[in-house]
């Protein structure tokens, strides 16, 4: 593993290794001294061309907990607003001696371009690129933290496995991903990762919010949330944020009204009651309370939304460790 660009690149063994490493990282985060010396002297650049709160803070926390130096770069207030290109920004970062670049970009494929263009050096001297969300393409660390959270709660069932399910995959876990799949890189990342780990995924969305070509994805689809909840009895329900900022025509272009969306696809108390008692409710955040998820559902005992944030730090620590700790020449996972 030289870069973390897409969950499609991860084999099952690699994914389980990331989750197991994250479990050990999570264990260190309950200590009084949370900082580890592992990545001392290495530099991680957070390169954010798009707004983000939790992902940027999460990556920053993860890198700092591993003693790496962190440089934050956001497009606002930088030379990018003066028209600097991605290439020139990358060359600058390379000249400053970055060891890893965490990139979020509005354009799908920007992290791939950074990783393979040679702008950040190549061969032995390569800089690891971590995709922190690119356009509507991928957000691999979010999918990994979702899988980690599911494994913790659902593998071994009742109360979760004693050791957080270390070593196991998600075989047989039934997941429903509900909402704005069209604009969601979280959904794309999750569908591939969860399938790799052996889970069954069903996407539930209005026809206008399912992308063209979804039938080629390794999952099933449905237009009816009530029917999916009743028939499949999912172990985990992941609500997606309705991404109004990506809906150029305003919300009205994809569904008649927010109220109708909430009635047909929102997770409320009635739908919550349809779920098996062990089911967990997930949301990648930030939530539109009252639109895709009601306050009752977001604050219910089965909700793991806050825990997802905490697990995000552990998963990102694992990703940084696996990409940066080994020899720079041949960084294999094992």
């Amino acid at each position: 593993m030289k870069h973390l660009l897409s969950t499609q690149d991860l084999s099952k063994d690699e994914a389980v290794t990331v989750l197991d490493t994250a479990a050990q990282m999570a264990a260190t985060q309950s200590r009084e001294i949370k900082k580890l010396p592992t990545l001392r002297g290495r530099t991680v650049v957070n390169l954010f061309f798009e707004d983000s709160t939790r992902t940027r803070i999460s990556f920053e926390t993860a890198a700092k907990r591993l003693s790496a130096d962190v440089i934050n770069f956001s497009a606002k207030g930088s030379s990018v607003s003066k028209g600097e290109s991605l290439k020139d920004t990358a060359l600058t970062l390379h000249a400053m001696g970055a060891d890893a670049v965490v990139v979020r970009h509005w354009a799908s494929g920007a992290p791939h371009q950074l990783a393979y263009s040679g702008w950040l050096g190549g061969g032995d001297d390569h800089v690891a690129v971590l995709n922190a969300g690119d356009g509507t393409h991928q957000h691999p660390t979010q999918a990994l933290l979702d899988a980690f959270t599911m494994r913790r709660h659902l593998v071994g069932r009742v109360g979760g496995a004693p050791d957080d399910g270390v070593g196991s995959d998600l075989a047989g876990v039934k997941v429903a991903i509900v909402g704005d799949v069209l604009h969601s890189r979280v959904a794309r990342s999750n569908v591939h990762l969860l399938r790799t780990l052996g889970a069954d995924v069903e996407l539930v969305a209005p026809p206008t919010l399912l992308p063209v070509g979804v039938e080629t994805w390794p999952c099933t689809t449905s237009y009816d949330l009530d029917e999916t909840l009743a028939r499949r009895q999912p172990d985990a329900v992941m609500m997606l944020r309705v991404q109004r900022e990506r809906m150029s025509g305003g919300a009205g272009a994809f569904f008649p009204s927010p109220l109708e969306y909430t009635r047909r696809y929102g997770l409320d108390a009635r739908r919550l009651a349809m779920l098996p008692s062990h089911s967990i409710v997930m949301h990648p955040g930030p939530m539109n309370r009252g639109l895709e998820i009601s306050a009752e559902a977001a604050d219910s005992p089965g909700s793991v939304i806050v825990e997802q944030v905490a697990n995000g730090v552990a998963v990102r620590m694992a990703a940084l460790y696996l990409l940066l700790a080994g020899t720079s020449a041949e960084g294999s996972v094992q």
Binding site: T21, M25, A27, T28, Q334
Partner: protein, 193 residues
């Protein structure tokens, strides 16, 4: 990991390992004036197994020692100084006794003591986990060639070796047999860490 190399010499057999561990257990009790405050921390992989065996013996010698609350595993991977020289290592679990290690006498348990770098990493890890009253070091084999000012308190056997040789400890729980084996010259890398 150690097969196929010519001239394997077994330097300790199963019974000698048992006797060495029993002696170390008595020395630990003697040195600490009882085993009430002793916490054993095994360093993965085989140090963990050795720590479990030592714990059984300590409990037999001094009933005040309860393995359930005085035995742990200490993974030092994230504290190593050679991470960048090797392919990425898997991080193992660290488990501490429920009461922690503050004001306890921590005895680190490892299989082979060689350069001392693993113990250096373990000392750093311990200082992040608490403040023990004392830290001591028990190892089954001391093969010399220290690269740091570190010495063991309890040694199963001193084994003068050349750096060309590879010393491996095999334990029943991990390898199916109890033995300490030296593989002769021609081996490419040291297995003893």
């Amino acid at each position: 990991m150690s097969s196929g190399v010519p001239s394997l010499t077994t330097v300790l057999g199963a019974e000698e390992i048992q006797r060495a561990l029993t002696r170390i257990a008595h020395e630990v009790v003697e040195r600490s004036k009882g085993a009430a405050d002793v916490v054993l921390l095994g360093i993965p992989t085989r140090g963990v197994t050795l720590a479990h065996r030592l714990a059984e013996r300590l409990a037999a010698i001094d009933p005040a020692f309860d393995p359930a609350v005085a035995l742990g595993d200490l993974d030092v991977t994230m504290y190593r100084d050679d991470l960048r020289r090797n392919p990425t290592r898997a991080v193992g679990p660290t488990t501490l006794p429920p009461a922690g290690i503050d004001d306890k006498i921590v005895v680190l348990v490892d299989d082979v003591l060689y350069s001392g770098r693993t113990i250096r990493a373990a000392l750093d890890a311990i200082s992040d986990l608490g403040r023990p009253r004392a830290v001591r070091l028990a190892c089954l084999v001391d093969r010399g060639h220290r690269e740091l000012p570190i010495r063991p308190d309890f040694v199963g056997k001193n084994l003068p070796t050349s750096t060309e040789e590879r010393v491996s400890v095999r334990l029943h729980e991990v390898d199916g047999q109890d033995a300490v084996v030296i593989a002769g010259r021609g081996a490419d890398e040291g297995s003893a860490r």
